[in-house]
Symmetry: C2
Subunit: 251 residues, 2 copies
């Protein structure tokens, strides 16, 4: 059964920090969350109470731009309205739980959100992490693959990586794009016009040593200049280069 | 032409920090690198010289476990032996360059590394970032997609995200795995034995109200217990639960 309040809530996961000790880490987590558009922060039993001035400093304004942080006594309370919890833990716990990579965990959050489920990513205290009982409350585990010989990430960094993955999962930035800024990609005809002119000038200046070599040499030049995916502005610039270099000859 | 020194070098990208100001950020970058097994750190014109005590503090031992940091006067010097540079920049520069996401950039690094090319991920100073001339030196751009209304990431975090993506690209951690710890997944026969026993006990205790309802009710119980992917240990535990609950009846 999905309650109505969950249907109207944004599907992005909550971040739940359990017994965080350093205000700085809470602030860094909040900043990382807003960097990547996660805005629901819940804190269980923060050591130094709440609000926390050091958290506000490190958040660089993020806490003022997010809904108010919710503070709870226990993880049970913090998670009461959520449907699926992911415990972040590096240590194996000898409990049989699905273990997700960060990318797979957030993909699972996104899918559940689309189905009307509310999810929570749960982070333990700085040194001790989550207790076994807290891990047992969570349906899944998230483990950040890292260098086994040097794997300690701080709390703010762990939140950053999950928030980053969530943003990537919900935003379809093209993997590679060519930004032509104020210019446009040159149409084939403009490129062809330039290449023909260049070959003509090279021919006139004795660049192609023999008639046999010319086709291969011309093709190699074309391959390079075509691969560069020139803008219209750049084709104009190269016309200018040819003009300047051919003028110099008669200077 | 690939020089011999590049063929024998590991294919992982260098991290190049250009004019970093705060030792803390250099240290955080080094720690993040070693967390995700990038070990070649080059620094161009660090404001406070090198070595730097604050960097050593923040690195949490990482600098001692990595090859020595290399320090250069200019980005040209730092990049002399590299084949492809990725400038990390958030601001558009009105230069026509391929713009990669972090995941696409590191995939490109890995491919180039496999072909014997050395690559560098280039990060600018804390506030100003890379100069336009420095960006112009780089073949590609990496831009970290983030909340346009709150996008400022610090230097250590930016290095962390690229190092993290590189580690994910070269390590094939299964997206989701079920960790059975000291036990093993229960074979179908053990599960079936338990389910049959449970159905028999339920039948004997009048759980199935009518003969018509029994098949559906039994199927629903099977669906849940099968979905849980029980371990052998858990099947034993559930046998114990049934034993305990049926014993209680006669207590």
């Amino acid at each position: 059964m999905i309650e109505e309040s969950n249907l109207t809530r944004p599907p992005a996961p909550c971040i739940i920090l359990v017994r965080p000790q350093m205000g700085e880490n809470i602030g860094a987590a909040a900043r990382a969350m807003l960097n990547f558009r996660l805005e629901r922060l819940r804190i269980v039993a923060p050591r130094d109470g709440w609000p926390n001035a050091r958290a506000a400093d490190m958040a660089a304004g993020a806490l003022d731009k997010m809904p108010p942080v919710e503070v709870f006594e226990t993880l049970q309370d913090a998670a009461a309205d959520l449907h699926y919890l992911y415990a972040t833990t590096a240590r194996p716990r000898d409990m049989v739980k699905p273990v997700f990579t960060p990318a797979a965990a957030v993909a699972d959050c996104v899918r559940r959100g689309a189905e009307g489920q509310s999810t929570g990513l749960v982070f333990g205290a700085e040194r001790a992490g989550l207790s076994n009982d807290e891990v047992a409350l969570c349906q899944g585990i998230v483990s950040i693959p890292a260098n086994p010989g040097f794997s300690s990430l701080n709390l703010g960094q762990a939140v950053l990586l999950l928030a980053y993955e969530h943003f990537q999962a919900v935003n379809d930035t093209p993997a590679r794009q060519l930004d032509f800024g104020k210019s446009n990609p040159a149409p084939q005809a403009k490129l062809e016009e330039f290449l023909s002119r260049l070959e003509g000038e090279l021919e006139a200046n004795g660049f192609f040593r023999t008639a046999e070599q010319k086709p291969v040499m011309a093709r190699n030049i074309r391959a390079m200049l075509t691969r560069a995916e020139m803008s219209e502005q750049e084709v104009s610039t190269f016309h200018g280069i040819v003009t300047a270099l051919t003028r110099q000859k008669f200077g």
